[in-house]
Every structure is written in C-alpha cells, then in structure tokens.
C-alpha cells in the first residue's frame, strides 16, 4: 500500500525516476479516454496527468477563472516545468476545456511531442465505430513516428492483456471493498486506483494480485459497525480526504461512477481477434463520460443500477466547478435517483476542498438524513 501512496506523493518525481531507471520514454496523457494501451505497446510509459491542488498563478495568463481547476492546474504544472521530463503529451478529445488545453499547450509548450487523439463524440453508431478504429490506427502510426518505435500486433495483444488484468484487479478490489467495507479505507483504495494510472504498469499488474490476497485475508476480521453505504459520482476526484471525512461522518463509499474510478476499469477488452478492434470496442462500450454520447438515458440507468446492485443508501455527487458536461447531466441524474427513491447530495469543489468542518457538517447531515 505504501508503494501506491509514495507514487502519488510526488507523481512527477516518480515519473522521472522511472524514466532514468528503465530508460523508457514517458508519455503524459489526460483523461481516461486516452488509449494508454497504445503507449504501453510502443514500449513507452503512459503517465496520467492530473491538476495540481497548489496555487495556480502561471496558468492565469492563459485561462480565465471560469475554466476548471483540472485544466488550469495541468497547465500550471507544465508552465512551472514540472512535466519537463515527459517525452510527449497526448490529448484525447473530450470536453471543450480539454480541447482548448491542447491548443494552449501546443502554442506554449515545446520540448516534447504533442498528439491529439480526436475520438468520436457519439459512440453508438456504426460510422462512429469505424471512425474510432481509424483514429486508433492513426494514433498507432503517430506514436510509432514520435517514439521511433514499431507497434506490432503482438505488442498490442500484450497491452490488451496487461490492461485487462490491471482493470480486472481494480474491479476485484472495489468488489472486496463493497462486500466488506472494513477491509480497506476509501483513501487507500483511491490511492491504488490513481497510482495505477501513474506507476509502471508491469509492476502494477504484478503487485495488484497481492493486494487482492491481502484484502481477502482481512475479510471477516476487525469489522466494526458499517457506515452508511454511499456511491460517489462525478468526474475526476483529486481529493483523497473526501473518503476519510465521509467515513468519519458515518458513511462509506462502496462504489463510484468517477473517471478516476469505475469508469476507468469497467468494460474489459474482448478477444475479438484484432487488438485494435478490442481497443475500439472497449472505448466505445465502457461507461460513458458525459462529454460523450451513448444514448439519452444510459448514464442515469447505470447510476441507479450501481446503487441497487451495491445496496447503497445514497449518492454523493462530487463535481469539479466549471465542469460543464457533469453539471448538465446533474438535474436528470438527480431526477432518476429521486424517482428510484435514492437520496443524493451534491458537493462542488474548485481546486481545493471546502474546510473540513464544513465538509463534515454536510456529510453528517446527509448521512443522518438517509
């Protein structure tokens, strides 16, 4: 567990060290829609970039205050030189803000390669499927050129296996937590998932089964009273403290619908014969981010299903301020929960969490209510 926490303490230092020790190129990327499998297949290290919680100053010269802290914080990190060790950065097309982040980054940052992966926005048509496959092929050849590597079918198949294993293990950890919330704290589980997007994947894939075994052993031991079972729903979660405060307030997060959570690991790649087809299938079928379209009701149906399946008592919406796609979906998701008799609360954060006292009061009130 310490290994995961250590990697998260200073991700850039981890990335730098990995680069020096392994001699591999490190490619930064945003968002769970970047086909990181391709970067791995090219023999490079995929390194997910998150916003910074530190003060944002340099990025203020490029982005207005009504831009979300993920985008402003990421640019801040780049301008401050924290990502200088990267060999390249990949921008998948998701929301309007990430879209412009790519532009502003391209105009201002030099010294590493810059790739856009302009994925389809709608995912539920035949032509979108064809386009997704085309985009992945293009990404493959772009990466080959930028990294001076070749990506064979076998490389891709190995990548599919590795990432299937990682995602499968993460899902297993979530299941263990859900079945037996006492086996691991929310903050620890969060650290494992997030660090899995930063750490050496060959290492991650080897270590996770050990973590699973460890949690399996803990089952049935040291169980205290269980908190109110909650589902955390929103975009990116950069705040491990949330889990702790929820637990102290008498709740426990037993599942989530986050892009740093279940939306990342759900949807295994099927062995269809072609690795590219497997990848395309995954990115088309995985739980959808609100910046993409896959039917009018799919997100609400999934959320209600999660709550029922995990026997949760309520949903905590956790939104990043100025994140339009999530804010647009909130009223309809809330309505779907209301209709299913599921209570919910919403917490909107900027780059920092509200004060702990405030947070505690809000969670306690909610937990008592449900």
């Amino acid at each position: 567990m310490t290994e995961f926490h250590d990697a998260l303490k200073d991700p850039a230092a981890y990335g730098k060290r990995l680069k020096e020790e392994s001699g591999r190129k490190v490619v930064g990327y945003f968002c769970s829609y970047t086909p990181e499998e391709m970067i791995y297949a090219a023999g490079a290290h995929p390194f997910r970039l998150f916003g910074t919680g530190d003060g944002i100053h340099l990025a203020d010269a490029h982005f207005q205050s009504y831009c979300c802290s993920l985008v402003r914080g990421a640019l801040e990190g780049a301008l401050a030189g924290r990502f200088d060790f990267l060999d390249g950065v990949v921008f998948p097309h998701t929301c309007d803000s990430i879209q412009r982040l790519s532009d502003v980054w391209r105009v201002n940052m030099h010294g590493h390669f810059h790739l856009d992966v302009v994925l389809p926005v709608k995912l539920n048509t035949e032509s979108a499927k064809t386009y997704m496959t085309d985009v992945l092929e293009k990404f493959r050849s772009d990466l080959e050129i930028k990294l001076g590597a070749s990506i064979s079918e076998d490389d891709l198949k190995k990548a599919v296996r590795t990432f299937n294993d990682i995602r499968g293990s993460l899902k297993r950890l979530y299941e263990l937590k859900s079945e037996n919330p006492g086996v691991v704290s929310g903050a620890d589980l969060y650290a494992v998932v997030k660090a899995s997007m930063i750490m050496d994947r060959d290492r991650v894939v080897r270590v996770l089964p050990g973590v699973i075994r460890e949690l399996e052993k803990r089952r049935g031991t040291g169980e205290g009273e269980e908190g109110k079972r909650l589902v955390l729903a929103g975009g990116i979660c950069n705040h491990p403290d949330v889990y702790r405060v929820i637990e102290e307030a008498g709740g426990v997060v037993v599942w989530d619908d986050l892009c740093t959570g279940s939306r990342y690991f759900e949807g295994l790649m099927e062995g269809s014969g072609s690795a590219i087809a497997d990848l395309a299938g995954h990115y088309l079928a995985r739980p959808v981010c609100p910046a993409k379209h896959s039917g009018l009701y799919s997100r609400a149906e999934r959320l209600v299903e999660i709550v029922k399946e995990k026997r949760a008592a309520g949903v905590v919406f956790f939104f990043l301020k100025f994140c339009d796609p999530h804010a647009f979906d909130y009223p309809y998701l809330k309505k779907a929960l209301d209709e299913a008799g599921i209570p919910s609360m919403v917490l909107e954060v900027e780059d920092r969490l509200p004060s702990e006292v405030q947070l505690m009061t809000r969670f306690e009130t909610f937990v008592h209510m449900i």
Partner: protein, 417 residues
Amino acid sequence: MPQVLLYLLAKVKKLILHLKKQKKMKEIMTVYYMEAKSAGVGGRKVAWITSGGPVEPLIAMDVIPVYPENHGAMIGASKMGVGLCETAESMGYSPDLCSYARSDIACATVNGGPIGGLPRPDMLVCCNNICGTVLKWYEVQARYFDVPLFILDTPFCHVGFAEEAKRYVRKQLDEYINFLEKVCRKKMDHDRMKEVGKLSLEGQRLWQAVLDTTANRPAPMSAFDAFYHLALIVTLRGTPVVVEYYAQLLAKMKDRVVKGIGAVPNEKYRLLWDNIPIWPRTRWLSQKFAAHDACLVADTYTSAWCGTMKYIDENNFFDSMAEAYTRIYLNIGVDEMSRIVVGMVDKYQVDGIVMHSNRSCKPYSLGQYDIQRIVEKERGIPSLMIEADMVDERSFSESQVATRIDAFMEVIKQRKS
C-alpha cells in the same frame, strides 16, 4: 381537417402573404416565427438545430428550422435572460453553464421569453462543430420533448482536417438524410438540395460582401449592425429571401460608401470585436464606443457563417458540406484562429481589438488570452478584454466596463496622435 383549423390556416397564409411583400428584417423574422409556430397546422415539421449545423438539408426537405441559440440571443437582447437563467438554476442547472442553454431550457418549460417560447420540435439536429455544450443541451431537450435527436459529430481540427475525420463526417451526412427521410416520411429531392446549396452559397457570398464593405473608411455599418443583420444567414440560409435581403443590404451599404456615410458619424478609430455579443448591452456598448468616435468595424462572430466558403464546391455542395461544416471558426485550433484574427486586423485596418471574455462560451473564450498575445505580438495593436456574458447580465458590471473602455480608448488615442 376541422373547419376551424382550415379557417386559421387560411388566415395565417393571408397574413404571411401580406408580410412577405415587405422585406424588412423584422417582418421576415415575424413571418418566419409565425410559420414555425403554425407549422403543425400546415403539416410541416419543425427541427431545432444548432447555429453551426447544416440547415440546407432541412430547407430542401421543407422542414422549418428553429434555432434555440438565436432564441437565446433574443432573450438576451430583450433583457429577459436573468429571470430565465434563474429558473434554470432552480431546476438544478449550475449558474456556470452556458446562458443560451440555461435560458432556452427554462423557456421550454414555462413558454416564456420574448416570443412566448419556441414552437415544439418534431426533431432535434445537433452539430457539435461549435461546442460540446450543444450536445448536452440537445440531450436535455430530446428527453424533455421526447423527439428524435440526430447528432452530427464533427471532429475538432486542432491542426488540420484528418482524412479519417472527413470520411466520418461525410458518412454522417448520409445518415442525416436517412434520419430526415424517416422523420418526414418522404424522400429527399436531390435536385432541390442542389438548388438550396446554390442559394446557401449565394447568401454566404453576399453576406461576406456586406461585411467586406466595412473595410472602407468610414465603415458604412458597424459590427453592431452586423449582429442585427446576421439573423437571416443563420436561420434561413439556403432560401431566396436571404439572397434578396443581402443583395438589397449590399446595395445600400455600397451607396453609403460612395456617399461617405459612416456608421459612426465621426469615425476616427477602428476596432475589431471578438466573441459573441453581450446581447443585453449591444446598444449601450455601441453608444459607448461611438462617443469615443470609435467604430467596431468587424468581428470574428458574424463572419463565422461565411468563413468556410473556400471549402464549398458549388457544383457538389452536399459532399463539400462535410469539410465546410467541420472547419468552422470555433472548430479549429487557437493558432489558426489567431491567423484569421491577424488577417482581419489587416483587412479592416483596425487600431485595436475588443475581446469579450464570455463566461458562457468556453470554446470561444478559453484560448483568447493566447490569441490576444499572438495578435499583439504580430501586429502591435492593443486589445481590451471585457469580462461578461452573452445573456446573463449578472456577469456585467457597467461601471467597471465603462472605466476600462475609457482607459483603453485613451491608449488608442495616444497611439494615433
């Protein structure tokens, strides 16, 4: 059909005929909205479509296009934005969301606003070439009205239009036609489509020609006039009325050029506007700048509806729509946008740029600081950033904006003297 409906239909038709004789903007738009509102009576379908979406196939299918964004602008201009935005907020929509979307979503539920709400849609056509917001907005409306939604997905062109993106958009144009044929239960008349394409291109050429007249000194019209005359190229592109209207307007502007009549009586300073207008404050802004003898001679906004003519093939309008609709101003990279702005600075010989940092519109506003820096560096002209919103007046501080405009104009004046 019941007697009373027939009677109503005849009455509406008579009124429309009467109004059609006149060619003023207000009348044209009144006829348009009356037709749209009585569409059901006449058996015509109504489609809501995004402002950057391909309207031509709708016109060719005799579907009435209705523009929620145009509606948003009307709501803003009539200063009804704050109330409707508040209604949306009480429905759970964040005050940080696009104010066009907020006011339209609210309006649909209360039938309020300046024209008592938009006519109910039979279908929704959403093209994401302008933003990702329209996707969310149209999803909301598709759920609310329970009508079919077509999404035209135009991949963003950071540094160019990729071959695979071209194939994808072209394929979706066929899907678009299939969608329309299914909803309308009739076949597309491809000859009619060609005609509509020709009219659309002709309308765009004339609109560009109208905008071009402001390269003259003094400029015969200002960007504020362009914001007004814009309505037709947005809403009725592909119909003869647009061609006729802009031909007349062009003649009028050319006449003003010959006579040396300027939009601002004593034009000394020429400025470029960037971003969507601050609709509730266009008159105030226009007067504010005019008081400084400054004319906003051009803008990046109104030219967006004729900015991709170079990609249109006159003899193959339908196929070329794929490229023309994907490469519009808001669907390209910040560096290419800067090049377009620099081109406009040169073309219209402006002394400075006024940029509206619009809380509602992230694709238009994020990246503005870099465009500002690039243009300042390349052309050495000053620029002013106004923090506001296109509809929601709560984000507008008149005294602050006035002070900043005065200070900016001082800089411009010193540089010119």
